[in-house]
Symmetry: C2
Subunit: 747 residues, 2 copies
């Protein structure tokens, strides 16, 4: 987060004027509110802000992180009861919703090198000085990857870098096959679950994932407990279920994992890994990496351990033995409701998970305690006689860490009501010090920008929105910088996966937001026993001042959504965004066509072979099928229609005066519009994912793919499917535009 | 040297046709030769090639590297006598030319950490198994930097990354001052002599330079003796005299260091360092780096040692004590002449240095033995009755390692004759396996491309030129790739410094070339005791097959230059190149203007301050003077004139028939043209460097600055000087164009 002078561009010329303009605005209007309502809302927000107390966050964080509280643990249930009791005491209609879900825990974990020398991994994070909870070994979940299958495999080791498909292309050029071998991949470059998935697709029999200090350790900063970063014994736990297929309980795809739900047999659970997989620390990985034979890996594959990184393939030989208890365990979502006074059947849902891998002071409690304080402050407003126009639901999800299980099972159980009633879902998760991160549905982009502009930054004299914008201008790449200077709104990120918005947005098509602060709280406690209260208060957000700021952003957003005369959906930003995605997929096909042609040519004319070092192995790649020109016209026409519909709606909305019944009708059209961006048939080969604009990548895991049907078909070189997906996406966008037209027509 | 698929660009479309075309050419014409002469020259080259024997190179390399042979050593003199005897035996008029030069060698070398813990550096490279000469400790020069001053200093340590000016800007932003402190810099990022120079400019009292494994060690590949790369004890020796000021003997600037030359006092020698400096291994550096305090350095500063890199500034405390024997030592250039039959006063000079830091099998012997075999083969041609039209001089320079001393003193001593008679200087130095590297005067670009096109590559079925071009197309950046596909000639690199061409080209304005193979011979033996015969034959160019190929390239070049009817100078490539440089300096000023304005604005409007992490130190930079618009018109007009003159010369040269006397007159105009690219007054603040198109950078050392007067004035923000230098460079180019006009007019 430090300025790189050399990245500053000519486009910075206009900063002075633009900057002066944006900070000088004294906003009095609010999207979706009449001038009178807006004035009242500002008063309400001032009262809300006055209620927030940082010490509440810190006290709750300390209490909730005092012992390990993972899925199924005693303290997790204690926390659920505690949180529910708090909500009840604040006047919310509160319950624990229980589900029964598959949760494997380790029975046996052995990883050893058997040749050329003997070494057995420790697989244990030790207690460290100054960290009060790091010694609670009896209650800690051991370090492991949940939903790895059982296995006892022995074979030679191959280093596969991040273990993504491009890495296996490099291995192929090197003449290295992972068939019958164990791979070792470093964390990073993709969501962890992709690594065993791709390894298995290539015939590997086992997968070790380790944290390289280049990505997560001493290269980044001083290690714990001296500094915030991952020490040599730190391990990143985490789920490896095949979430891009479907999240939630592996045995109950698409339905709630209630006690009596119909479950598939364990052996038919599609999201378990195909091979055993275990995460390890860099001190455990080092002896294996030292013994890898074969050629030296390319520069982009090298980490920061004091060794020369090799591919391996013959040496060393490694054995992995993993056995799990395949239990069904109860989980508990805390659900707290405040019913709306005027439109109770329009729900504003606000959630954060509350379960952790171990003590989880940062992940998830830094976000969870902000949500609790937000809910408490809202309840204080209610004590003065105020009631929200719409219903507000606060949720503390369980079992997020294992695969968004709590939220997914709840969404699947209540799918029908939610499809009808849910207006917006606002998610938070870990929170830290720094800049405002905003992701979500672009129908809410203008809304959340407006919210952000009213919140002061606790460290500077600016607002959080202005400081985030300044950061994009000072430290951003040239495109981001230009955009921050020229665009009225900061662009929000499209959502892939990685937190509880996924079932809402991508399964049901509920417009969603994901909000959090960060960028000045670097560290490496993620999913380790060192994600503790002591660590968080030293390094992440001491005193939870950004926790309070998060409560403000999300509290204002929730209150505005709950109170607005008309829901603050807006479509021109979405239209512009989707138009950009359409241009991207077109360029993607063009670039692949050019690259394929060029590559085929240097293969055919012998240049590619000629420039290889004859002393090194290089397996010539086969020529690839040329990329045909695709018919993007349906998509382009649909985007043009969308753009026009968005414009017409914007014009029609200006100063619109309609009665309450019409307002409620308009509201329904607005929040149901996101549903029309889904298809019941879902995406190819993964029907659980229904949204046609946003999805987690099949080979990225968390990383988003926009226009996913089209984009992934092109990436997978499936031209027939690409043409088909262009038509389907176009039809979806046309359907969405027609809904906007209906909304515009209401008078 | 491995293909990166993603860097392939659209421009690759045309490869097939271009490639087919270039390999199919059956060239029979040679630049500067009539058709008849060309046919005879091809016969001669075939006879020359048939003479070359790889075993000669290998035998000489083994003999010459059998013992350390640095400046002043017994074995260095033995080698000089041996090489001279060889040349004599081949019929060359051979002599040793002796000079007396300043050469400090270590008397005391102590570097120790005194706090927070005690550690004394070993400063010794050990013998390794399988390397026959690594144990010759009694004859090895200890690891040190020549021309460091004596000193005994103690102070806190600061890590300064590469120690270039931009690094001190970062330190300033961090609020860290090196005044009164010792700096530790890693090798890389600049020529080593820049590091103590810039450190001293900022008030440091001592400088340690170490080889970080990121740049030169296990990160790059397996270390010696397992692999070719620098092991934990390897040290890079090297000169740190201020060569960008002037190279050669520090006591005899601009004149030959003959026995009776007028010498300045040691205390007035301008090119000694201002502070003591010593190079160390990474095992010696590690304990110090571990103990650095302060903030963590930016990512681009981090190496590959298993530590978190910090700036330091208070801890640790380090003591350096260095004392040298400040001796005057004799050096011996081997000079071997074959007088020309028709134009004996036109000299083609071909040189390589023969001294090493230790055993130097690679640097310089891999090039030196290729030169010897080339000279032997030429002598075999002479035995058949053939004589070169022009005089050929072979040179084996001494004392290159200490600062190009042998070549510089020779050039300074013979400046008058050389200015009159030297037509071209062709330099080689270390040579390895891989692709053809060509640098030099762009008046010779077309010539050396033509030479390269006739030489077969020993590893593939292509020619060396075609393989090098293919490499640029397959692995080059987009601009280099486009150029390789579209341009008839591969672009040769402009020369900065780092080998013996410097006094010829940059002091006297003698058109020069620098030739060598490499890119498939990575390793880290540079300037260490491990640069041995064993290392070279295992890792660099086993059997010296590329040594023979180098002898072919340089032999053909020498023979063509010696035999041509008219010297093969050509000016359109130069004009195009200089036109490119002029555009670059214009863009440089524009970019600095935009960056300065943008930076000043984000300082003034508070954005820069606002985005800094308030928990970290950040000293706000001061606003900089805005960059004025400079008058580039004189330069642009001069380049236009040059372009036109080059075109007219090219047209006039086509099929020109002139008698021998006119040919000799034309030759003189051609080779003296490079002189007119110099100014007697030299560059600002360094009058020894006279060339106005090429110079080593004042703050890069080896790295070239083209249009150096203009470019460095802009970089140093000296606008008055920049305007002045634009006028001077323009006048120089106009003068050069006028010389081309004279050459074109000869009939």
């Amino acid at each position: 987060m430090r300025l790189n002078v050399f990245r500053l561009l000519v486009t910075l010329f206009l900063i002075n004027s633009v900057f002066a303009q944006s900070v000088a605005v004294d906003r009095r209007s609010i999207l979706g509110f009449s001038p009178d309502s807006a004035a009242r809302q500002y008063d309400l927000e001032a009262k809300f802000d006055a209620q927030l107390k940082a010490e509440n966050l810190t006290n709750w964080q300390k209490r909730l992180s005092a012992r390990p509280h993972h899925l199924g643990s005693a303290y997790n249930k204690e926390n659920a009861d505690f949180i529910a009791a708090q909500f009840r005491s604040w006047g919310y209609d509160t319950k624990l919703e229980e589900f029964q879900v598959l949760f494997p825990t380790p029975k046996t974990r052995i990883v050893e090198m058997t040749a050329p020398e003997k070494f057995t991994m420790r697989l244990q994070e030790p207690e460290v000085a100054g960290d009060a909870t790091s010694g609670q070994q009896s209650e800690q979940l051991p370090s492991y990857n949940a939903y790895s299958i059982d296995g006892d495999v022995t074979g030679p080791l191959v280093y596969v870098n991040y273990g993504v498909p491009a890495d296996y292309e490099e291995l192929e050029r090197q003449g290295i096959d992972v068939k019958g071998k164990i791979v070792i991949a470093r964390y990073g470059g993709s969501w962890r679950g992709i690594k065993p998935k791709v390894a298995a697709e290539h015939g590997a029999i086992g997968c070790i994932i380790y944290s390289d200090p280049r990505n997560d350790g001493y290269y980044q900063g001083d290690v714990y407990p001296k500094g915030a970063y991952r020490n040599e014994n730190g391990v990143q736990r985490g789920s490896v279920m095949d979430m891009p297929l479907y999240p939630g309980d592996p045995l109950t795809k698409g339905i709630g994992a209630t006690k009596d739900a119909k479950r598939v047999d364990l052996k038919n659970a599609a999201t378990l890994t195909k091979i055993p997989v275990l995460p390890v620390s860099y001190s455990d990985a080092l002896p294996l990496l030292k013994n890898l034979d074969g050629a030296v890996v390319p520069e982009s594959w090298r980490g920061s351990l004091p060794v020369t990184y090799h591919f391996g393939g013959k040496t060393p030989t490694v054995r992995m033995k993993l056995e799990f208890n395949w239990d069904i365990k109860p989980i508990y979502n805390v659900i707290a409701k405040m019913t709306g006074s005027e439109r109770p059947d329009q729900w504003i849902i606000r959630g954060n998970h509350r379960d952790a891998w171990v003590n989880g002071a940062d992940d998830p409690l830094s976000g969870m305690v902000a949500l609790m304080e937000e809910a408490r402050a809202v309840s204080e407003l209610a004590k003065t006689g105020w009631r929200p126009k719409r219903t507000i639901i606060y949720a503390g999800w369980d079992a997020e860490e294992q695969g968004l299980i709590g939220s997914t099972e709840w969404v699947e159980t209540h799918a029908e009501e939610l499809s009808r009633n849910a207006a917006v879902y606002i998610n938070t998760d870990s929170n830290g010090r720094g800049f405002l991160g905003m992701g979500g549905s672009h129908t809410l982009e203008k809304f959340i920008n407006e919210v952000g502009k009213d919140i002061p930054d606790p460290q500077t004299k600016m607002g959080v929105w202005e400081r985030t914008r300044a950061n994009q201008i000072v430290n951003g790449g040239s495109a981001a910088r230009k955009e921050a200077m020229e665009r009225a709104d900061l662009r929000i990120s499209p959502l892939g996966s990685g937190s509880d918005y996924t079932p809402f947005l991508q399964h049901l098509g509920i417009a969603s937001l994901n909000i959090g602060f960060g960028g000045e709280d670097g560290g490496g406690s993620y999913h380790s026993i060192y994600d503790s209260f002591d660590h968080f208060q030293r390094f992440a957000d001491p005193g939870n001042v950004y926790g309070v700021t998060l409560a403000k952003v999300c509290g204002h957003a929730t209150l505005r959504l709950a109170n607005a005369d008309t829901l603050p959906f807006e479509f021109t930003n979405l239209a512009e965004t989707v138009s950009g995605y359409a241009a991207e997929v077109t360029r993607l096909a063009d670039a692949m066509r050019d690259e394929t042609k060029a590559m085929n040519q240097i293969i055919a004319n012998g240049m590619l072979k000629a420039v290889q070092d004859p002393k090194e192995t290089y397996v010539m790649p086969a020529a690839k099928e040329n990329v045909p020109f695709l018919n993007f016209a349906p998509l382009q026409n649909a985007v043009a229609k969308l753009t026009e519909s968005a414009r017409v709606f914007q014009v029609a909305s200006k100063g619109k005066q309609i009665n309450a019944a019409k307002q409620a009708e308009l509201d329904r059209l607005l929040y149901l519009s996101e549903r029309s961006l889904t298809r019941d048939q879902g995406l190819p080969r993964r029907d659980w994912f229904r949204h046609q604009i946003y999805a987690p990548g099949f080979y990225t895991g968390y990383g988003v793919k926009t226009l996913p049907g089209i984009r992934e078909a092109i990436e997978q070189r499936n031209w027939t499917e690409a043409e088909e997906q262009i038509r389907l996406a176009a039809a979806t966008i046309e359907k969405f535009a027609a809904e906007i037209d209906k909304a515009a027509a209401i008078k």
